[in-house]
Symmetry: C2
Subunit: 428 residues, 2 copies
């Protein structure tokens, strides 16, 4: 006998986990599609040299990679960004640019498993590639707003900032040479607090006054609105710059489409990666402040420079599905309220099987999910345990010249002259 | 620069491939859910010893397996049956039996890539586990019928037979000891023809008369119906047996629910695997006779005997999604008719961007997928190339006090006083 165990950091997805996950991805997809985004997929396995770049280096340990039976060095994708860059380089001539795609699928990382961290998890990425303008930035943000609305979340906010504008500021301050280290330090603000960040900044810049100025830049006035904050940042940058102009234009579109309230100009958002060059953003659920960002991203200059000379600017986001699912469950999202495997269960006596299957056809044709209990038991405890475990709200049984529909929640039973009439008794 | 190539036998899924694939799986899921089936997922990577059994042996070469960074021997799943057996052994106490699950996801095999054969492909499995009765067999068949109906396929047939009944026949013939070899030979009938099968059978049984009797069993009378064929088989078995009784009961339910016409008793269907013990079946699209079976399966005695002492009988099927997608495309299924990325594209002059985004909100709120073209061009060729490549059927532009809606197919343009009015001009 083999022990049916699974690897550490991996999970089975039981129906009660898989159903909400699917409802959430279906809802997100609906949101993306309403903006004209299309789905793609890429292979789980690729050449290591393609996924990891020539060097490989430190990330290697986090990547599942091996030599296949043909002697090729292959790796399992560890995110959806690198395969997308490779995809765009390979197919840009077949696609009509700008290209708006989403990709929802699993990725793998050999990280140390810990609470909420797994070695196999689902990511959801969406990007607009091939254009660098205000409209594309706005569309990504607007689509995020629309999608979170569709998910039935009541209170959420998008914290947005501009990497280019931050660079303008660093240049004016004369510390541009340390930009990468400063970005990483600032990115830790939420985690380690102002004082610790200041220490690191002083270590980097060797100038306490300048460190203070950086802290001043990234600390907005609590009570100031989007435009007020923007004016303060412009002043610190020595006047308007392309980044601040872009932010102003985006804000004007958000305002025109009446969704600006959810967008907060937050200069402490920098995103750790060098990759970003324009707007950057993170998304927080107001009622779950400790959950962390559930959707992050930004604008980049050049998606696929590793693979092609073609310049492919873009803007995009990534949702970590595990965290979003956990958040929605904690918020008791109405989207996840119904976890039933079927709307109605039909129970029957041995001689009623044909009747039961005919009734099931009637229900199914009306769009009612119908489970004919798989043995001719009529009133046993087992049968109601089954309905309970599967959260099936109704059961139907047969009387001499009628059918009897029971609502499991209210325990009320109602009789109907036939199955067709019973259809209206089932409230989905 | 790294060449953006992918591994042999692997594929990118472009939007024009990914969209139909998703429509098909969504439709299948709808069919499964209407029968009370629930989704699960399992890890892509598992312990090699769990996936391959202790021995491993010949299949090993077809399986992607390696030692991970922690020194564990791991393998990528090569089907959805073995992980499901492991899953049931691990979780049967948490689940309410009978358990009806579906699982649609990728599997990997290191087979030699050839036309229509890939190393990464999607399988769709569905099973009823924990019960062995007529109703469960019927429900699987009925659900298959319902799902193919939902896919918009007009003509399909399910070829069904009974492994237990075939064994009764082999026993009566006194050749039961060769059953495995005989099954494999019969399974090749469609591929290599009657004469070749006969040669193999004679080699196995060393008795031409008995080989002829096997051929007679597996060759139904062209013009005979289900029950007539069943009677002939019963006679060859020496009378009714549990298998023939089960088939008769299933047929009676199919008849009662008015779907029996699609079911053909075909004793040449044996399925090569030892695994099956009851009904076995394959599914053919009538208008694509050379495509092969698009959905196959049967009843088994014991799903998870490798992992648990608990007896888990079941019945289930597997759909190879690639073949089904190819079939539906060849049949020009109406399900796949609409491959547009959006229902309408909005085009605008530079000063009209806010207007355009406001209009998009109106459309999206009405459920109309809306693509605001991502630059302020108004009449260029590029913009209509984009609409064409994305199969977008309508475009909207602005006039002084009106909006103009163009249908790309008819080339007709119609004016509306505002965007709200234009909604009704868009036929999805």
């Amino acid at each position: 006998m083999i022990d049916p165990i699974i690897l550490k950091g991996f999970r089975d997805s039981m129906p009660k986990e898989e159903m909400p996950k699917r409802k959430i991805t279906e809802t997100l997809e609906k949101g993306f599609q309403s903006y004209g985004f299309v789905p793609i997929d890429t292979p789980v396995l690729e050449y290591s040299s393609v996924l990891l770049g020539k060097g490989g280096g430190e990330t290697d340990k986090q990547v599942f990679h091996f030599e296949d039976n043909g002697g090729r060095e292959v790796a399992m994708r560890f995110d959806l960004t690198v395969p997308f860059a490779r995809f765009m380089a390979a197919h840009s001539s077949e696609l009509a640019l700008p290209f708006k795609r989403y990709h929802i699928n699993k990725v793998w990382r050999g990280e140390k498993p810990q609470k909420g961290r797994y070695r196999e998890f689902i990511q959801c990425d969406f990007d607009i590639v091939g254009v660098d303008n205000t409209q594309a930035d706005y569309e990504i943000l607007s689509m995020m707003h629309h999608s979170f609305h569709l998910l039935g979340i009541e209170r959420y906010s998008f914290h947005i900032s501009h990497r280019g504008m931050f660079n303008t500021f660093l240049e004016k301050l004369g510390v541009m040479e340390f930009s990468t280290e400063i970005l990483r330090a600032v990115d830790k603000l939420m985690k380690i607090g102002r004082e610790e960040v200041k220490k690191i900044l002083v270590d980097i810049i060797h100038d306490e006054g300048k460190a203070e100025e950086v802290l001043s830049y990234i600390t907005p006035d609590e009570n100031a609105g989007f435009l007020e904050r923007l004016e303060k940042l412009e002043a610190l940058c020595g006047g308007g710059c392309p980044g601040s102009i872009r932010l102003r234009e985006i804000y004007s579109l958000l305002k025109a489409t009446e969704i600006s309230d959810a967008f907060i100009l937050d200069p402490s958002i920098t995103r750790g990666l060098d990759y970003y060059t324009g707007i950057v953003y993170e998304t927080f659920l107001t009622d779950l402040p400790t959950l962390g960002s559930v959707c992050s991203g930004g604008r980049y200059n050049n998606l696929a420079s590793l693979y092609t000379k073609e310049n492919l600017p873009g803007v995009g986001s990534s949702i970590g599905l595990d965290r979003l699912v956990a958040g929605l469950e904690e918020l008791k999202s109405p989207l996840l309220a119904n976890n039933s495997s079927a709307d109605v269960m039909i129970i029957y006596r041995p001689e009623e099987l044909e009747k039961a299957e005919k009734a099931a056809r009637v229900f199914r044709d009306k769009g009612i999910r119908t489970d004919v209990y798989l043995s001719p038991e009529h009133k046993s405890k087992r049968i109601f345990d089954y309905a309970d475990k599967n959260s099936i709200p109704y059961s139907l049984s047969f009387k001499e010249n009628a059918v009897s529909l029971k609502c499991h929640k209210t325990r009320e039973t109602k009789e109907y002259s036939d199955v067709f009439d019973a259809v209206e008794g089932i409230k989905i």
